[in-house]
């Protein structure tokens, strides 16, 4: 078994092999591997004895269950109304410059993927972004860049 298959197997042992376990298992894979590879989805389908298309169909429904490769750190800038009103565009521009990649893309060193997200629930403290699971409200372009630099140091 490959690493991924082993890991999926462990997740299935932990969460069970009923359909109800699908979300926690997929979430577990994404937490570790940042996205669901073809190999991972097949391993999940096999563990749960469901079709691979079913796994893919379920995963693609959810914004946080990516099925395309992502960097080690996934940055999601809130794009919804009040963050929009509070200049999320500037944040995105600053991040695009800093990371040298556009929204939807991953940096060439695979350290970061830059994405936008629908309302993150910090409308009173926008603009806001998530880096992985951590939240950073009340951003300025400068602050956003510093946060990214910090993650960059950490992932060296």
């Amino acid at each position: 078994m490959t690493n991924t298959e082993n890991f999926v197997h462990e997740l299935a042992e932990k969460h069970g092999r009923t359909r109800n376990a699908l979300m926690p298992i997929l979430q577990g894979v994404v937490a570790r591997e940042k996205y669901l590879s073809e190999e991972a989805m097949i391993a999940v389908a096999r563990e749960l004895d469901i079709s691979a298309a079913d796994v893919y169909g379920t995963a693609t429904f959810y914004t946080f269950l990516d099925t395309v490769p992502r960097g080690r750190n996934v940055v999601r800038v809130c794009k919804t109304i009040s963050c929009h009103m509070h200049n999320k565009d500037e944040i995105i521009r600053a991040l695009e410059e800093q990371l040298k990649c556009k929204v939807g893309e991953t940096t060439s060193d695979k350290k970061f993927t830059l994405l936008t997200a629908n309302c993150l629930g910090w409308c009173h403290k926008g603009p806001v972004m998530l880096v992985n699971d951590d939240v950073y409200p009340e951003l300025t372009p400068q602050k956003a860049i510093e946060i990214i630099q910090e993650y960059n140091r950490k992932s060296n």
């Binding site: 073809e38 097949i42 389908a45 298309a53 796994v55 169909g57 693609t60």
Partner: protein, 597 residues
């Protein structure tokens, strides 16, 4: 137990129906037609197209009539102003994301969306055409099924078919919102996924999003080519269904007219897959008895039981993907279509003095998986592609129309000989349980020298539409060479539709069953419900087709495969004996393990 009755009014007319009845069905009883798209009699309720909405007095929302059960005192309006506006909006919204190139569409004239659009007479479209904004994908990777996302209206009938009826789930709903679509695992081409090519999705697709890969032009070209000798074979189930696409009611037997039409169209010889169905019984029956002998007398542990039928190519591919461990249980017999192909380009070509390379073999099949089957690399035992083109029953009907033939006015004609003679045992291949019944008629008689102990040869326990059927026959009076079978209770099982097949296979895998022989047909109802049969389909329509099949059997002068004189002749002339060397060269095959994931 009588159910609680619910009183309601539909369009002011009172009616009482059983509790749990949907508004849609209650309205039907009063002859109020409510249009539907996502609803299908073979599938679970989805309630997502919203075409069937109706107004319920006092309710804030319109109700999806397919998904809403009646309740006491309910007052329903099926054509109020609100309903009409909503329905028009819904249909127009669907049209706005539908690539409406109707005149070029293969489903032109057979499209439920087109029908609705014509009912409502849309003039200028109000809404913006969304098709240019959509990711378009025409998938022609499969030799059986073409998938065109630009025609899809997301009713999910195909997805439910693939999951509920076939337990395959090659198709799934993927993404959400404006990106939601119907696709495969990782959006792979249909030919690269677990699709069995059964075509049941096609039978239930309301538009042209799923349709058979068609070979109509190739076949016409072959007919028009003076250097080609074009032979056509027709599967058992086509003769009770093709009429439906030519203006006749379901259940009409049109064997003679179909033969006449094919002759008029210019095929050089019109022959019958039923002939090779009889041949299949000889081979498969012998294979079964041989396996039983090896297992029971020789104690040969390499021989696998229960033996399983191999006529249905959708079922074969399913087994190759899903239960590869059970592949040794499959009979090595080719399907009747492929037995026909390899015989036609060898024995038959010699007989009529035609070079095999100049012969084109065309099949008329109730099946889309047959298109895949004829392209399998194993199916070239004649030295050529044994079967060149497979047409569905629907494609045949189109060609008959194209040829300007008035089908219902045709005089019945007979199949050409040889390879045209058949028996009642062959025609029942078209319905679930038919292969089993035909095999038992012959095998029992080989073993005992007597007819099967069922009135009028009708083995009723294996007939009908139950998902999994079982029967046992005790062998009495076995001939000396079969004495090891004396008193043996032959246990058989029959399943149709791949969901039922899966249930049966899981039971076999569990080791708790004691079957000797299993018949599986990939499609609900067997071939009469095949993925290449006329659309629409429903339990009722399939029941009528099956009845017609059994009528056809009852009316045949010969009803046992081993009594087919042409079969007797081909063994004498060419093959030697069943499961002999020549048979193994031409009539048997092997299977390949395929990935489930």
């Amino acid at each position: 137990m009588s159910k609680y009755m619910v009183n309601l009014k539909i369009n002011n007319i009172p009616i009482a129906v059983e509790e749990g009845t949907t508004i849609l069905d209650a309205a039907k009883r009063l002859n109020f037609h409510i249009p539907t798209l996502c609803n299908h009699p073979d599938l679970s309720v989805a309630g997502n197209c919203r075409v069937c909405v109706v107004e319920v007095k006092g309710a804030r929302l319109l109700a999806a009539s397919c998904a809403t059960p009646v309740s006491e005192g309910m007052e329903v309006f099926t054509n109020s102003e609100k309903v009409r506006i909503a329905r028009k909006h819904v249909v127009e919204l669907l049209l706005s994301e539908h690539n409406a190139d109707c005149t070029k569409c293969f489903k032109n004239g057979h499209c439920e969306l087109q029908e609705l659009a014509s009912e409502y007479r849309y003039g200028d479209h109000i809404f913006i055409d969304l098709v240019p904004f959509k990711h378009k994908y025409l998938d022609i990777s499969s030799p059986s099924i073409t998938k065109d996302t630009s025609k899809c209206i997301r009713c999910q009938r195909c997805v439910r078919t693939c999951a509920e009826l076939q337990a395959v789930s090659a198709l799934a709903v993927v993404h959400k919102g404006n990106h939601q679509t119907i696709s495969t695992f990782m959006d792979k081409p249909m030919n690269d996924v677990v699709c069995t090519n059964c075509g049941q999705c096609i039978n239930r697709c309301p538009t042209g999003a799923l349709y058979e890969r068609n070979y109509i032009e190739d076949v016409w070209n072959a007919i028009y080519n003076p250097n080609k000798f074009v032979v056509v074979q027709t599967a058992p189930a086509t003769r009770v269904a093709v009429g439906e696409d030519l203006g006749l009611e379901p259940g009409h037997r049109v064997t003679g007219k179909m033969v006449a039409a094919l002759k008029k169209m210019g095929f050089n010889k019109v022959l019958d897959t039923d002939f090779t169905a009889d041949l299949t019984i000889m081979e498969e029956g012998t294979e079964l008895l041989t396996r039983l002998k090896k297992a029971l007398v020789d104690k040969d542990e390499t021989v696998k039981l229960p033996m399983m039928t191999s006529c249905s190519p959708g079922w074969i591919k399913f087994q190759e993907h899903m239960f590869p461990d059970l592949l040794p249980n499959l009979s090595t017999c080719k399907s009747p279509q492929q037995m026909f192909g390899s015989l036609a380009k060898t024995y038959y070509a010699d007989k009529i003095n035609i070079k095999a390379e100049n012969m084109i073999v065309v099949s008329i099949m109730p099946c889309t998986a047959k298109k895949f089957e004829c392209n399998r690399p194993e199916m070239r035992d004649s030295g050529f592609k044994d079967v060149d083109y497979v047409l569905t029953t629907r494609e045949l009907a189109m060609m008959i129309k194209q040829a300007g033939i008035e089908f219902d006015k045709l005089e019945d004609q007979h199949y050409d000989s040889i390879l045209g003679e058949s028996t009642g045992a062959a025609v029942i291949f078209g319905a679930t349980g038919g292969v089993m019944e035909a095999a038992l008629r012959t095998a029992y008689e080989i073993v005992t020298g007597k007819e099967v102990p069922f009135a009028n040869l009708e083995i009723k326990p294996v007939r009908g539409m139950d998902g999994v059927k079982e029967a046992s026959i005790k062998i009495k009076g076995a001939k000396p060479e079969w004495s090891f079978l004396e008193g043996v209770e032959m246990n058989v099982a029959v399943a149709h539709g791949l969901t039922n097949a899966k249930i049966l296979m899981e039971a076999v895998e569990s080791g708790k069953t004691n079957y000797h022989f299993i018949e599986i047909m990939g499609c609900p109802g067997g071939c009469i419900g095949g993925g290449g049969q006329p659309i629409p389909t429903s339990p009722e329509i399939r029941r009528k087709r099956a009845e017609a099949i059994y009528e056809e059997d009852a009316g045949m002068p010969i009803r046992k495969s081993h009594e087919n004189p042409e079969v007797v002749e081909v063994y004498k002339d060419y093959l030697g004996h069943p499961c002999g060397h020549q048979s193994h060269e031409l009539l048997h095959t092997h299977y390949v393990e395929r990935k489930r994931y």
